[in-house]
């Protein structure tokens, strides 16, 4: 039945279009949240993967013409399983750039394994995605939250801060951050005065923040994403809490700065990978991205989606459009130069990120810590 339909449509299409491409078309997939609360990240990732495909298609040396099939997982595990089944059971799709939300990524790894579809996670940071299984299909190009928090804890205790309060959202993202940050902070001698779990759709944090004010912390650590990060930072100001605001990769977005205006000054954030602003590839990525006039920004994880799509297409160029062979090539990825720095996979196909970049918001921009006025002691955090 399906074949009849496709044959019919194929006939129709070929009747309509006269341009015959000399190259074979190869499909790769993108899955991320395109609707709902975190859709900004999902759309940014989709655009970045799309950019990678467009640029590859302009390259006359490429052996194949690529097509990006993108799907919306709504950041919901059951929808994730549904679209993952759809993508993975479609044999014309060779590999996938998949998932921003950790719970969704956790729920779909079995599907990819079952159908043998090589995928590369581009945004989900939960360690278990790569470490709780040994599926050769699953790769991850971004780092886990473990690396990030180790640096985050060491960095601030190194600056001499001692008393922390932790606010985290009750999603897997926030809870994971809380767990690893607490672990590394106590190891480095920091003291945690209180931990607050808040829901991701919460608007009002004044009750929690009043309590925090009473505790008088030096640093407020926030494990969560941009939208509630903005709300918490604003309400801290309303209640007159003067503490350093230390975020995670979740707030390293233009939206955070735009949403807070001057209040963003001095917020800290950490992200895996080399600071792409300093790499020639990264600058080129941004230039090309802006050239394509996507209506939405790539957001923090756009470069990872872009890298994942490129790694996959490189593997297809090398091994041909065959899932198994592409997977073998991807498994062996070692020391590949990309816009997020060198990518090497360990035995669980997790990118061993050599570097965590530290950022501070300064004059309406995220600035790499080492280049900031704060590192040069010309400004002080938490003013």
């Amino acid at each position: 039945m399906k074949s009849i339909v496709s044959a019919l449509v194929l006939a129709l299409c070929s009747g309509l279009s006269f341009s015959v491409s000399a190259k074979d078309t190869v499909k790769i997939a993108y899955i991320g949240p395109l609707t709902g609360g975190v859709s900004a990240n999902g759309i940014g990732g989709r655009n970045s993967a799309d950019l990678a495909v467009r640029m590859r298609n302009q390259d006359p040396n490429a052996k194949y013409k690529y097509e990006l099939v993108s799907a919306d997982d709504e950041c919901k595990p059951n929808v994730g399983v549904q679209v993952a089944t759809k993508i993975a059971s479609d044999n014309s799709i060779i590999a996938g750039v998949t998932h921003y939300c950790s719970a969704v990524a956790m729920s779909t790894v079995d599907v990819y394994h079952k159908f043998g579809l090589p995928v590369m996670v581009w945004g989900a940071v939960l360690p278990e995605i790569t470490y709780a299984n040994d599926y050769k299909e699953v790769h991850r190009v971004n780092g886990t939250m473990i690396n990030q928090n180790e640096v985050a804890a060491k960095f601030l205790t190194g600056l001499g801060y001692k008393k922390w309060v932790i606010i985290h959202d009750t999603t897997d993202y926030g809870k994971g951050h809380n767990k690893y940050f607490t672990q590394y902070l106590t190891k480095n001698g920091g003291q945690i005065l209180g931990t607050f779990g808040v829901t991701a759709d919460q608007q009002d944090f004044t009750a929690e923040l009043t309590k925090i004010k009473e505790l008088k912390p030096e640093v407020v650590y926030f494990g969560g994403l941009t939208p509630i990060g903005i709300r918490i930072r604003t309400q801290m100001d309303r209640l007159g809490i003067k503490a350093v605001f230390e975020g995670t990769s979740g707030i390293k977005s233009d939206a955070y700065i735009e949403g807070l205006g001057k209040l963003s000054e001095g917020s800290l954030s950490f992200i895996e990978g080399a600071p792409w602003e300093k790499l020639p590839g990264g600058l080129e990525f941004i230039a090309k991205y802006n050239q394509q006039k996507y209506p939405d920004a790539p957001e923090a994880y756009g470069p990872f989606a872009y890298t994942a799509a490129n790694l996959i297409m490189d593997a297809i160029e090398k091994a041909g459009p065959n899932r198994k062979k592409v997977m073998d090539v991807l498994n062996k990825t070692n020391n590949v130069e990309t816009i997020i720095g060198k990518v090497s996979f360990d035995d669980r196909r997790q990118n061993i990120v050599p570097l965590i970049s530290k950022y501070v918001a300064q004059d309406g921009k995220w600035v790499v810590w080492e280049d900031s006025l704060y590192a040069k002691k010309q400004r002080k955090l938490g003013q």
Partner: protein
Amino acid sequence: MSFDIFLQYLLNGLMLGVIYAIVAVGFTLYFGVLDVIKFSHGDILMVGAFAGLTAYIGIAGTFDSPWLQLLVLVLISLSVAAFLGAVIARYLILPLQKAPPINTLLVTLMLGLALREAVRLFYPNGSNPKPFPRLLPTDGISLGEFTLRSDSLILLLTGIICIVAVQRLITRSKIGLAIRAVAQDSETARIMGINFRQIVLITFMLGSALAALAGLMNGLYYNEVNFSMGLLLGVIGFSAAVVGGLGNFYGAIVGGFLFAALQTLGAVMLPAIFPDVPSAYKDVFAFTVVIIIMGLKPTGLISEKSSERV
């Protein structure tokens, strides 16, 4: 807990309560005149806030005085919401009057989803939170740990004045009389020469304008608006209206403050009593109490006079 901290909690709770109460009053007005639940109420609130934001961006260059800016912003936001409310009543709610009441609920829910998605997709960079301008003076006084900023105070007073004004409008004015007449018995009201359709439209405009006001207050208080801000506020406003007693103006206000009190109390008490319980349980706490109240007072705290309409 020291006194200053207690004051701070009280202020936070009052502020929340005022916003909830204004949203709940809208629900109760609609239910009063038409016996319908309009679930897109929270999203009208969001649209109102975004309309205000857009107006601000449009006029920020023209007027310098923040008070003038505020006035224009409020006027535009309220009229956009009122217009939207009238359109919804005319084209979605009145045509469905004969259908089962649950249909109105579903239609308005879907409308809410459509509005939310439309703002997310079509407002420039709409999927990210937007900063809301700080138009009110931010200087304030501190008393120990208690900080009262003048903008908080202004907003709190505005909210209370608004609620009183609406109460006056409903109990003292001719339009209010007509609204109450329709609410009590729409058939008889019609016989008495009240233009039913017009009153319904006016009520929906009033309710939507109130929602927009709550949206603006929300924006000015938190200095941030986002496309999904109406979702939770809508559910809480609805809960407050029902707990207070649907169709009852005072019930909505009681419900609004009760809900705010429960949330604040949940956030303070729960971690104090059970150290391992995160404050995110405060909503679990608030909704559990709501369920218990509904079991004890099945038609709300201030119940309708005639809950059985025979």
